[in-house]
């Protein structure tokens, strides 16, 4: 950087120099931000490079299908879309039950590109939506952290967020899920809230409501915002930080935000009716009471004010008690206390496992383990405490918000693995603050120690951006009354700088005393860089190895090269081309979205687990003996049954491993299915010790049908055991397709027997079936059941 020679001399030269410096820093920051965006985008492309440009996992397939529909039929059709391909025979109103933010975003991008004659397919747009929005999210982090602790911290936090593994896990290319855009919306809403809080501008308050609206459109996690911001407002009021800026930051958000949120069909009147939103209204009232009190306090003399207080408090308490009593009665009258199941399981972590097995059965709703923290946020876990301390020195409105944010999100991430995603940005922001402050301290001490630069204290103070930001905050506090009108962004900063000068000078004097020894600060700097390098290495590894697998195509490396397991798509393609368009396919709900999207066939249940009874019906069928299962499926008009079986190649997340959940969910509605019937001494097993109920249930039979003929022993590679019942035949189902590695097996329901001819021909048909069976399977004669 160009160090000025006569910096202490004339004010104009100093001013121009600083302006140049600021401009240079601005351009540098811009390019760093650009590179951060590029990095955030490109680190998520490992999945495309290692696998292919394809939609991942389960839920993204549904979103992809909805986007296809939107691109094909337009927005109005989309709102009215009744999907008869799923939840047969109930169907599902997609337009009213889906968070439309993601699909609308991708649909808009697609439409925009197509109107510019860039013919990208819907799939391509969907695949790359998540990486694009992660770049946006890192920029939003920069803005948020800049508002809290200045540009340096902002850049560090943005860089950290761009590659935090927790976020990568949900936003790799192809992971086309709500979280992909929601995290951006979350951070951006917080940024606008802080911005409004710092400036008191109604413009930002309005933007904030719109950003909140976008968040509501995108993800159910918007309740986090609408609870966190009231908490912060309450905190500010309690700690005596009430100001008109706080009022402007909060009141428009509640009014406008709630109105806008109610526009989203899936939220609708929930925006005012459910307990999740209750806190925001309560705080809204409190805020107004407090504002009113401050107003009264301003116009009355202290003595009169005391009288007024006693009067109001006595009357007000009575009214409040009445209102609260009514509210409590209303809330208590509903069985879940007005909370949705997922929110309740957040507040009471044991709730789901007790009452809603369907929520508990999802792996991402389990509490995380300690290693998963290290895996997902890595070194940030150590930097977070330092960042929190940094937030307290000095504590501003903005930094208190960050502290509150991280405190709540740590709790939520401890309840559900999935909410690690909400925690990650908070961790990045605090770690960014911590890192930047540490760098700040060390570089400043080095500069003070070095003789050449030591004299130019003013320049130094002006250069370290974070200290100016702090100074800004101080100024804000000192001249609170006038500041709101004066404090405008960048263009008016010239004026402000002049006022700050004496202040910063004094500050620099103070900081000279805080300087650390040269060698220790150099070593600490190197250690910090090493820490950052470790983080980067870990993130790249996580992005490349851990989180890039699309899970519909699996690979394994063996001595003779890469082996691809593409069984899922093989089965779905088979269903798509070789079954009738209106055939119904039954499978466990995990595969519902994929079946509708990839095979284009009607399913009974899918990943949108809105009807527990329906899922329990399928669970019951899977855990019933063959005949009973056939009757259940036949009553549902099912033609094909699809099971996922990993026993041949050792794919662990197959249906046999999920089977206990089917029993539990099925048993929850149909009590004749009892979990202990499937367990031998409390243990789940499928070997010769397994219970007869287990060995006769449909899932067992469909999974292991003719499995013994593959190796002669029927050794299950997932369970690492030989199966209990090896030779059996199916009477009501027939195998119609099994994929190359046996991972997906599709069975067809045999048509019902003809009743009139059934009795007379019974003996005849029996002999004919056995003879044909013997003919079909060459090894039949050896089998004991023949």
């Amino acid at each position: 950087m160009a160090a000025p020679e006569s910096s202490a001399a004339a004010v104009p030269t100093l001013y121009t120099n600083n302006a140049l410096r600021n401009a240079f820093g601005g351009v540098l920051a811009f390019f760093i931000l650009l590179l951060i965006g590029v990095m955030a985008f490109s680190i998520r492309l490992f999945s495309v490079i290692k696998y292919e440009s394809v939609i991942h996992e389960f839920d993204p397939y549904f979103n992809y299908r909805v986007t296809q529909f939107l691109a094909k039929n337009g927005i109005y059709e989309f709102w009215n879309w009744f999907d008869d391909r799923t939840w047969y025979p109930l169907g599902r109103v997609i337009g009213g039950t889906v968070y439309p933010g993601l699909t609308l975003t991708a649909g808009t991008i697609w439409w925009l590109l197509n109107s510019l004659n860039i013919p990208l397919s819907v799939e391509t747009v969907c695949v790359f939506t998540a990486p694009i929005f992660s770049a946006f999210a890192s920029w939003a982090t920069y803005l948020l952290t800049k508002e809290v602790k200045g540009t340096g911290a902002g850049l560090t936090a943005a860089a950290l967020l761009a590659m935090v593994p927790s976020y990568i896990s949900r936003s790799v290319a192809g992971s086309y899920d709500n979280e992909a855009v929601a995290i951006f919306a979350l951070i951006f809403t917080f940024y606008l809230y802080i911005k409004t809080l710092n400036t008191g501008s109604l413009f930002y308050a309005t933007l904030n409501s719109i950003a909140y609206f976008y968040m509501v459109c995108s993800w159910g996690g918007y309740t986090f915002i609408i609870n966190l911001i009231p908490m912060h407002v309450l905190l500010c009021i309690v700690t005596g930080r009430f100001s008109s800026r706080l009022y402007i930051a909060y009141a428009p958000l509640v009014v406008l935000g709630t109105l806008l949120a109610a526009l989203v069909p899936v939220v609708g009147f929930n925006a005012v009716m459910t307990s999740e939103h209750f806190a925001s209204f309560l705080v809204f009232i409190i805020l107004h009471v407090v504002a009113f009190v401050y107003y009264i306090k301003g116009i009355l003399t202290p003595k009169m004010f005391k009288v007024a207080v006693t009067l109001v408090v006595s009357v007000g308490l009575a009214v409040c008690c009445a209102v609260i009593a009514v509210l409590v009665a209303l809330v208590a009258s509903s069985p879940t206390k007005g909370w949705s199941g997922r929110s309740l399981s957040l507040l009471d972590p044991t709730y789901a496992s007790k009452y809603i097995p369907i929520i508990a059965s999802v792996s991402e709703h389990q509490p995380p383990t300690w290693p998963s923290y290290f895996m997902d946020i890595n070194v940030l876990a150590f930097l977070v405490p330092a960042g929190i301390i940094a937030c307290f020195s000095p504590l501003s409105d903005a930094s208190s918000f960050v502290v509150l944010y991280i405190a709540t999100s740590v709790y939520f991430s401890g309840v559900m693995v999935r909410l690690m995603l909400v925690f990650a940005p908070a961790a990045c922001i605090t770690s960014g603050i911590a890192l930047s402050q540490a760098f700040d301290v060390f570089t400043r001490s080095i500069k003070f120690q070095l003789p050449g630069i030591a004299s130019n204290t003013e320049v130094d103070a002006a250069e370290t951006s974070s200290s100016t930001a702090e100074a800004q905050n101080d100024v804000v506090k000192a001249e609170k009354s006038e500041e709101t009108s004066k404090n405008r962004p960048s263009k008016k900063s010239k004026k402000k700088e002049k006022e700050e000068k004496p202040l910063t000078k004094a500050k620099a004097e103070k900081k000279r005393l805080l300087a650390l020894p040269l060698d220790s600060s150099v070593i600490s700097l190197l250690l910090l860089i090493l820490l950052g390098a470790l983080y980067v290495v870990h993130c790249v590894w996580a992005a490349a190895e851990a989180y890039s697998a699309p899970s519909i195509v699996l690979t394994s490396r063996s001595h003779d090269g890469l082996h691809v397991f593409d069984d899922f798509r093989e089965a779905y393609a088979w269903l798509r081309h070789n079954t009738d368009v209106d055939d119904k396919v039954a499978s466990w709900w995990d595969y519902g979205y994929q079946t509708t999207a990839m095979a284009n066939r009607t399913v009974i249940v899918d990943n949108n687990t809105w009807n527990n009874t329906h899922i329990a019906t399928v669970g019951t069928a899977m855990s019933s003996p063959e005949k009973a299962a056939w009757e259940i499926f036949h009553s549902l008009d099912v033609k094909y049954v699809l099971v996922v079986f990993g026993g041949l190649v050792g794919y662990p997340s197959d249906d046999i491993n999920k089977f206990l959940w089917m029993v539990r969910i099925g048993g929850g509605v149909f009590p004749h299915i009892k979990e202990p019937d499937y367990l031998r001494d409390g243990q789940y097993r499928i070997d010769s010790q397994a219970t007869p109920t287990m060995l006769n249930c449909l899932m067992y039979k469909l999974s292991y049908y003719r499995f013994v003929e593959t190796d002669g022993k029927a050794f299950d590679r997932v369970r690492q055991t030989e199966i209990g019942k090896k030779y059996f035949k199916l009477t009501h189902f027939e195998e119609v397709f099994t994929t190359h590695h046996w991972m997906v097996r599709i069975y067809k329901l045999k048509p019902p027997k003809n009743r009139i001819r059934g009795k007379t021909k019974k003996s005849k048909s029996k002999t004919s079936t056995t003879s044909s069976r013997a003919k079909r399977s060459g090894t039949g004669k050896k089998n004991p059941w023949n």
């Binding site: 292919e52 394809v54 093989e570 088979w574």
Partner: protein, 510 residues
């Protein structure tokens, strides 16, 4: 089996050639076959009964009433026909020795086909042998479909135009090749996984011709020695995989003698129901080809169970007629090949390239049994200089193959789209056979006026159609710069707008 009996007796009466009138003949034997099908109660027994019955039934010779033909002064002194039934495309090689017995020279020779065969006829080619015994060369002749006003029973004709008119008394030898698709009818129509595929082939023991044939022989070649049944029209011999009908002497014009052969053909029947080939020309040096396939196995339909364990452990006995892989022959120097379908990449493909050709071996996601379908897309890039040339009149032309690059497949409907670069004019296509043509407009990356697309459609194609076609057009190279300039100016305007915004103070109060 009650009903067919009287028919059998009826047929037995007609041992010798009997002249029949139009109405009674027409085409009765498919109907007979249909009635057999409906009466067979179990599929296992059906083929036996059917063949037994048909053996008697089809021993009939049917005469078409011969009316005055425009050139019946021609006669065929010797005809030899070889029918190759080894694959699902039936190849017929016909050698005709034509003699002009009339008084006037003629240069047109008619080939006659029954109407049912014409529907399946993919191509007809005729060659004439020239020169003396030692130095014989073959010359290709023009063949065009012809309508005759008095064709008996809807017989369709093709006319071969000789280069030199045949004077009276002279004779010439013609080699005719024609191919039939969809002419092997699987019977039984549905088979299980472990059964082998049996098919019917129908034809006439005698060559249908508007001319008098002095002597004729027909040879049929089946893929294996396993022949369930065949119609005997004495003299008929069968040795190994070959069957010989004839020689038959002195048959009148329009003599027809239906024969039916029921034999094993375990080769898969790959049929591309629809193929759309899009060839996009970029003057920046690339030719992008995208081919969308709808593939179906046209053989006997798969019935009942598909057992993977049987299929994997006994591949020789199970699913012998299933379609496991396909081979596509692509031009040399092919690059960026992809093979995918609507749900993503299909990983089971291999590309082998050498300097003369590239071979892409593709496996569908699952083995195709009879009646199973699959759709997929193959795309690849090619260097432009191999295919784009400048003609003498300053126009450019693309020289590319027309048909389907998959070997040994039948294409029911092919659409070839040639996307010319934006700004090209006066497109015209030259195709060696008749196709339907029209023009379309396509908008690709950043197009403003759109690209002209020459669309050519043809039905019923066989690998013989893989000949070259040309699309001529004019194009000014300046158009190549349009899109880069457009992008550059857009960015320029964006930056100008940014600069302008930064220098304007929009605040009301200073």
């Amino acid at each position: 089996m009650k009903q067919p009996r009287p028919m059998k007796t009826f047929v037995l009466q007609e041992q010798g050639p009997i002249e029949l009138t139009h109405a009674t003949i027409s085409y009765f034997f498919p109907k007979v076959e249909a009635s057999v099908k409906t009466h067979s109660s179990t599929p296992m027994e059906a083929p036996i009964r059917a063949t037994e019955f048909l053996r008697f039934t089809l021993l009939s010779l049917l005469f078409f009433v011969c009316r005055s033909s425009p050139s019946h002064d021609l006669l065929i002194s010797n005809a030899e026909r070889r029918i190759d039934l080894t694959s699902h495309i039936v190849k017929v090689y016909l050698t005709l020795k034509v003699e002009n017995a009339g008084s006037t020279p003629t240069s047109e020779i008619l080939l006659a086909f029954p109407p049912t065969q014409v529907d399946h006829l993919a191509t007809v080619e005729a060659l004439v042998t020239k020169g003396k015994r030692k130095k014989t060369t073959l010359a290709r002749l023009d063949v065009t479909p012809t309508e005759l006003p008095d064709a008996p029973n809807g017989t369709k004709y093709f006319t071969i135009y000789l280069t030199n008119p045949l004077n009276s008394g002279e004779s010439t030898t013609l080699e005719v090749l024609y191919l039939f698709t969809h002419s092997l009818e699987p019977f039984p129509a549905e088979i299980g996984q472990s059964e082998s595929q049996l098919v019917y082939y129908r034809d006439s023991a005698l060559i249908l011709s508007p001319y008098h044939i002095k002597q004729q022989t027909t040879f049929l070649k089946t893929p294996s020695t396993k022949v369930e049944s065949f119609t005997r029209v004495e003299p008929t011999n069968r040795a190994g995989t070959e069957m010989k009908y004839g020689p038959y002497e002195d048959r009148h014009p329009y003599t027809f003698s239906p024969i039916l052969i029921h034999f094993e053909n375990n080769s898969p029947f790959p049929v591309v129901e629809e193929l759309v080939r899009e060839v996009e020309i970029s003057h920046w040096g690339n030719l992008q080809v995208t081919e969308q396939y709808t593939l179906v196995h046209g053989g006997a339909r798969h019935k009942g169970v598909f057992s993977r364990v049987d299929y994997q452990s006994r591949p020789n006995m199970n699913g012998v007629s299933s379609l496991r892989y396909l081979l596509a022959r692509l031009p040399p120097r092919v690059h960026s090949v992809y093979y995918r379908d609507e749900i993503g990449n299909i990983s089971s493909s291999h590309l082998r390239t050498d300097s003369r050709k590239s071979e892409l071996e593709i496996e569908p996601r699952y083995p195709l049994f009879g009646g199973w379908k699959a759709t997929f897309v193959i795309g690849y890039g090619l260097p432009l200089q191999d295919f784009l040339f400048e003609s003498s009149d300053d126009r450019r032309y693309l020289n590319f193959t027309f048909g389907c690059p998959l070997l040994d497949t039948v294409v029911d409907k092919l659409t070839v789209k040639v996307v010319l670069p934006e700004g090209s004019k006066d497109p015209s296509a030259v195709v060696p056979f008749t196709v339907e043509q029209h023009l379309e407009t396509k908008y690709s990356y950043l197009d403003v006026v759109g690209r002209t697309v020459v669309v050519m459609e043809k039905k019923n194609l066989v690998p013989v159609h893989n000949s070259h076609f040309q699309v001529y057009y004019t194009f000014k190279p300046i158009f190549m710069l349009a899109e880069p300039l457009m992008l550059a100016s857009a960015f320029f305007l964006f930056f100008v707008a940014c600069v302008a915004y930064l220098h304007i103070d929009l605040s009301i109060r200073k």
